[in-house]
């Protein structure tokens, strides 16, 4: 049975490709989760099989919860991610609004300057950032991480959001001006709700690298007090002995919060990605 727009072989082909891709993408994640529920012998004996009654073991999870201060690490990761996300979205949206709404000298140069960060990895400036943090006494604080991540996320946020803000109707903003709304009210009450899908897109793209980052926590905030989850998991990576149960359990746990945030944003996300394409 075939219609004008879809034929059976083509549908099968497309699904085959998509399923293969899904399998490849999910394979490592599933492997981590499966093995986190197995004993050490089970992990090394048959790494690809699901846990059986013989190999099922929660030792990894008990180690993680018992040994390291993992609840605290989780808390640190969450604080850093949520705070950075908040600042990236707030400042990114405000800068994007100014760039798209107001005509001023150097507008396009400013836009280019703010977008430059997309092309230059922030890690190139690690030494200077470390010196700056030492000088300002921010080493081993979560503030240091939040500042760095905000800087890291802003260029992409400004770039994406300013494109979307240009699509918000001028008439609507002008109607607000005639009704006596301030520019801030226009921004927060009229414009932001209309660009919510694109905000979700930016949120997801910003959130994942922050949550997964190992580099800056290791350099700027390695103390016990400020460790993040990814850094905390390193605890079980020894030079000679590696506690695989604990590492896999820690990583499985670390997936959860980011997965929850992703599910929250994803409905908006799809709209955000496609909304520019049609209409």
């Amino acid at each position: 049975m075939s219609t004008a727009t879809r034929s059976l072989p083509r549908t099968i082909g497309a699904h085959a490709i998509l399923l293969t891709y899904t399998a490849i993408a999910l394979f490592p994640v599933i492997l981590v989760i499966l093995n986190s529920f197995k004993s050490r012998a089970g992990i090394f004996g048959a790494p690809l099989t699901p846990p059986t009654p013989g190999t099922f073991d929660l030792i990894g999870y008990t180690t993680v919860i018992g040994q390291g201060d993992f609840i605290h690490y989780f808390q640190n990761s969450l604080v850093v991610t949520v705070a950075s996300l908040f600042f990236v979205l707030l400042f990114g949206a405000m800068a994007a609004f100014a760039l798209s709404e107001y005509r001023f000298r150097g507008n396009s140069m400013m836009g280019l300057y703010l977008a430059l960060g997309i092309m230059i990895p922030i890690r190139l400036g690690t030494v200077a950032i470390l010196q700056l943090m030492v000088a300002s006494g921010l080493v081993n604080t979560l503030t240091a991480l939040i500042l760095v991540y905000t800087a890291q996320g802003l260029p992409l946020a400004v770039f994406i959001l300013s494109e979307f803000m240009k699509q918000v109707s001028d008439d609507l903003k002008n109607a607000g001006r005639i009704d006596g709304l301030s520019e801030y009210t226009i921004f927060f009450r009229l414009v932001l709700p209309l660009v919510r899908p694109s905000m979700a897109t930016v949120a997801v793209f910003t959130m994942i690298p922050i949550w997964n980052d190992l580099w800056f926590p290791l350099i700027l905030a390695p103390s016990e007090e400020t460790k993040t989850v990814t850094l905390g998991a390193q605890l079980f990576l020894g030079q000679f002995v590696t506690n695989w149960n604990a590492i896999l359990a820690a990583l499985s746990l670390a997936i959860m919060p980011v997965l929850i945030l992703y599910v929250i944003f994803s409905r908006q996300l799809i709209r955000g990605i496609t909304s520019g394409a049609v209409k």
Binding site: S169, D171, L172, N174, A175, G176, R177, I178, D179, G180, L181, R189, L190, P193, L194
Partner: protein, 332 residues
């Protein structure tokens, strides 16, 4: 209580001059329509009056007070936009009341005014709805209601009917005309549609390329256009322009409106062939390819049977033939 004076207003976006010195006076209670082709600066002029754009030079005076440096909310104006521009997150009632709330009007007064406006525009059943739950015509009525509750000195309309379908456009046009009669307020209305201009206006301002071509009442513009541009813009179908040289006239161009031509199958001034006939019932538009005059349009009232290819003679009404000089101005 609603006069407007514009003195030598100019507006340039970088090197592009959009308004090249506009002078205009609107008296209290007048319905003035700005009309012109797209890009002529009519919307920009309205935005300058509203305060949404700053003029590069010149003054805007509302009720004797220079408002050139006053923000839009303090000018005592209300504006209706082409795209309605309703606040999507507010109900119809709050959409209408927001401006008054911002200005610190007491709640009882806001409710009273919303009551009057919504009964005037028959919006009462929809007061608790959001804009997304309304049809296009209802949305535009809400936008008009939002302007009415502010009791402004000046109503500004920026192509309010362009997003509506043809039937609704006629209805809403009627409503705006009735609203003007009832409120006796000063209204300024921008459109590119000369039919809207002719039907609504007390006074029409024809703009072209950033300049005013002519100001006058609808019949004044129709009967004595100042120049070729106004003559061509006002009236539908468009006036026929014929090269004066081909007809042996001194004037550069001769203009005859389609309705001021008569046709006869046997004799007449200009012999031509029917190229196409449009039968509209109430009238018939004939397109004639004439030996002397070129392609012309003839409007005949009532039904007229003419097959393409037939030969017809067209004769202009000598009293209603216009002559334009080399500078485009009408010759007396």
């Amino acid at each position: 209580m609603g006069s407007l004076k514009i003195e030598n207003v100019k507006k340039a976006f970088g090197p592009v001059e959009v308004l090249k010195g506009i002078d205009l006076e609107v008296t209290d209670g007048e319905f003035v329509v700005f009309v012109g082709p797209s890009g002529c600066g009519k919307s920009t002029l309205l935005r300058v009056i509203a305060g949404l754009e700053d003029s590069t030079a010149g003054r805007v005076v509302i009720d004797g007070a220079d408002v050139s440096a006053t923000p839009p909310a303090k000018r005592g104006i209300a504006m209706v936009f082409q795209t309605y521009a309703l606040y999507p997150h507010l109900t119809v009632k709050n959409n209408m009341g927001l401006g008054l709330k911002q200005a610190g009007t007491p709640a009882a007064e806001i409710d009273r005014r919303i009551g009057i406006a919504s009964s005037m525009l028959s919006l009462e059943p929809y007061l608790e709805r959001r804009p997304a739950e309304l049809s296009g015509g209802q949305r535009q009525r809400v936008a008009i209601g939002r302007a009415v509750v502010r009791e402004p000195k000046l109503f500004l309309f920026d192509e309010p009917l362009s997003n509506l379908d043809a039937a609704l456009r006629v209805n809403t046009r009627l409503e705006i005309a009735q609203l003007h009669r009832r409120l006796k307020a000063t209204m300024i209305y921008v459109t590119h549609d000369q039919v809207e201009a002719m039907t609504l206006a007390d006074k029409i301002v024809v703009l072209n390329a950033g300049r005013i071509e002519q100001i006058g009442g609808p019949m004044e513009l129709y009967n004595s256009p100042a120049n070729e541009f106004v003559a061509g813009f006002i009236g539908s179908p468009k006036m026929n322009f014929i090269d004066g040289g081909r007809l042996g006239e001194i004037a550069k161009t001769i203009g005859v409106r389609p309705e001021h031509l008569t046709v006869d199958p046997k004799s007449g001034r200009w012999k031509g062939t029917v190229v196409h006939a449009e039968h509209l019932g109430a009238d018939t538009n004939l397109y004639l390819d004439c030996e002397k005059a070129g392609l012309i349009t003839v409007r005949i009232f009532g039904v007229y049977d003419a097959e393409p290819g037939a030969t017809l003679y067209a004769t202009p009404d000598p009293a209603r033939t216009y002559r334009f000089g080399a500078d485009g101005k009408t010759m007396k």
